[in-house]
């Protein structure tokens, strides 16, 4: 099972309610994924020299302010921090690999859920409506967002196993389906220096895209290659800094529906998640064709 939702605003007036709309879409997909839920939201760009990190701690009372001070002192930088339940968003003016290495060395208890200029990821175990409330997702504003509700079929139910998976700076992936060649592919990618946090199949797909992009492919080229190299059933939604892309496997038995109006583009596993959006009843609605890449973005 699992449910995927994605919303891309074409009309800036919709950006103020992005979190609200995406939350409603996510909750509609509760039947498809009651185990855990997560969103990737693109908002508040940091500017060129800033890196935004989404960090997760299993400790609900984690001393985030202390961490920000410690890191600020280390870098001689003023770190801004926003805490939402088990996650914190930090904005740092330093290269990501440097911060990543510092965190690993000094705070191995933390997990980096995403990094980039605009992406933020919030994901947790539990029913989608509880996850929405816990992170207060409804008040988030932004240009576009992806969400996932998970019914686990191939690996454990933990926060780290939840989607979205970040695939590199400002990139993320959500997945409905299951991959059958992920163990072998994980070994291949690990030899290429791609790191994995879990034994989850989707993380391998995310790592695969990160590897292709690192090797110089465009997102479309990376997805084209994924059709050949990933074996299994999937509908993917991939978030980028400027928009998102949707891809189904060549058999296309995992559901997906796309809808577009003058104000927004939405994708979901089922139409009922799109029905919550204003103007949905007048939207152009169609099912994405197999092995075809659909993408939307700002120029």
């Amino acid at each position: 099972m699992c449910g995927i939702v994605g919303l891309f605003t074409k009309n800036p007036a919709f950006e103020d309610r992005l979190g609200d709309y995406l939350s409603s879409m996510l909750i509609e997909m509760s039947d498809r994924g009651p185990d855990s839920a997560g969103v990737a939201i693109y908002r508040n760009p940091t500017g060129k020299d800033g890196v935004k990190l989404s960090l997760f701690s299993a400790d609900d009372d984690y001393p985030w302010r202390t961490l920000a001070k410690e890191l600020g002192k280390e870098l001689g930088d003023k770190i801004s921090i926003e805490v939402r339940a088990s996650h914190a968003i930090l904005v740092v003016h330093e290269d990501f690999p440097v911060i990543q290495a510092w965190l690993r060395h000094h705070h191995s208890e933390l997990k980096v859920m995403s990094a980039g200029n605009t992406i933020e990821i919030f994901k947790e175990k539990g029913l989608p409506k509880d996850v929405v409330e816990r992170f207060n997702l409804r008040d988030l504003k932004g240009s576009h967002a992806l969400g996932h509700t998970r019914m686990a079929t191939e690996s454990a139910v933990t926060t780290a196993h939840s989607h979205p998976f970040s695939t590199g700076l400002d990139l993320c992936l959500v997945h409905n389906g299951s991959l059958s060649n992920h163990n072998r592919l994980r070994q291949v990618l690990a030899r290429e220096g791609i790191e994995f946090q879990t034994d989850n199949d989707t993380e391998v797909a995310a790592g695969y895209l990160a590897w292709r992009l690192r090797e110089g492919a465009s997102l479309d080229e990376a997805l084209e290659a994924a059709i050949k190299d990933l074996d299994g059933f999937y509908t993917f939604a991939v978030g980028t800094r400027d928009g998102f892309a949707v891809l189904r496997d060549p058999i296309a038995c995992k559901h997906a529906v796309l809808a577009e109006t003058d104000d927004w583009v939405a994708m979901a596993t089922e139409y009922r998640a799109i029905a919550v959006l204003p103007g949905a009843e007048k939207a152009k609605i169609w099912e994405p064709a197999p092995a075809q890449i659909y993408s939307w973005g700002r120029a």
């Binding site: 089922e270 029905a275 609605i285 099912e287 197999p290």
Partner: protein, 227 residues
């Protein structure tokens, strides 16, 4: 006219009211509003009622339909009119995969496109699609007619039995044991009638017919690669 508004009525209650209709009921005209993509709307109807659904529906709308005429003014999710026995289901928009799957009778009209597996395992239903159908349509189709006014995706009619397929556009590829066949006068009669009944404006002379080569009916070791 009976009114069902899913904004105020539960799906189960709406379906109960439709199931309570019989041929003796006074009110045989029904309307359903605010479907909002709910699943199994108007599944299992068994009365000569007419129902208009104003909006997009989820999975299995009009499944197992007997006698009823259902019009969906919008998009239909997977499995619309699956296992239909008789009556008619019309979709004014596009339909998702497995439209009319394993239907035994009646007429399904999709004015837009359908995605993959349209008419999979059909067993007597007639399906008319105003646009195109996706891959693996009419897979293992046993009887009935599939009329496609646009194009057909890859592997049309794979492992087909005796269903008759008409395609006006291009079939991307034919599945195992599916071949093009000549159109004889009796086929033109059926095709003309189906296009008229479905209200879709197309010239029967523009279609090609596809059906079974009947090589896979019994196991034959020479055809082992095709099974």
């Amino acid at each position: 006219m009976g009114d069902l508004d899913l904004a105020t009525l539960s799906l189960r209650d709406a379906n109960k009211r439709l199931h309570a209709v019989t041929h003796k009921s006074n009110d045989l005209a029904w309307q359903l509003t605010n479907p909002r993509g709910a699943h199994a709307i108007a599944a299992g109807l068994d009365a000569p009622l007419s129902l208009t659904i104003d909006g997009h529906v989820g999975f299995y709308c009009g499944g197992m339909n007997k006698q009823a005429e259902i019009t969906i003014r919008g998009h239909a999710g997977p499995g619309v009119a699956e296992n239909m026995m008789s009556g008619m289901v019309r979709v004014t928009g596009n339909a998702s995969q497995s439209a009319g799957a394993s239907g035994r009778g009646g007429l399904l009209v999709v004015e837009g496109d359908t995605s993959s597996r349209c008419g999979i395992s059909m067993k007597g239903i007639d399906i008319v699609v105003g646009g195109s159908v996706g891959h693996m349509s009419a897979f293992m189709a046993q009887s009935g007619h599939l009329v496609v006014c646009g194009d057909a995706g890859a592997n049309l009619g794979d492992s087909i039995y005796e269903a008759i397929l008409f395609v006006r556009g291009k079939a991307e590829s034919l599945g195992a044991d599916c071949i093009e066949k000549e159109i004889r006068p009796e086929h033109t009669v059926v095709l003309t009638e189906l296009l008229e009944k479905s209200g879709i404006d197309a010239d029967p002379a523009d279609f090609r017919r596809y059906g079974s080569a009947r090589r896979l009916y019994n196991f034959n070791v020479d055809h082992a690669d095709s099974y």
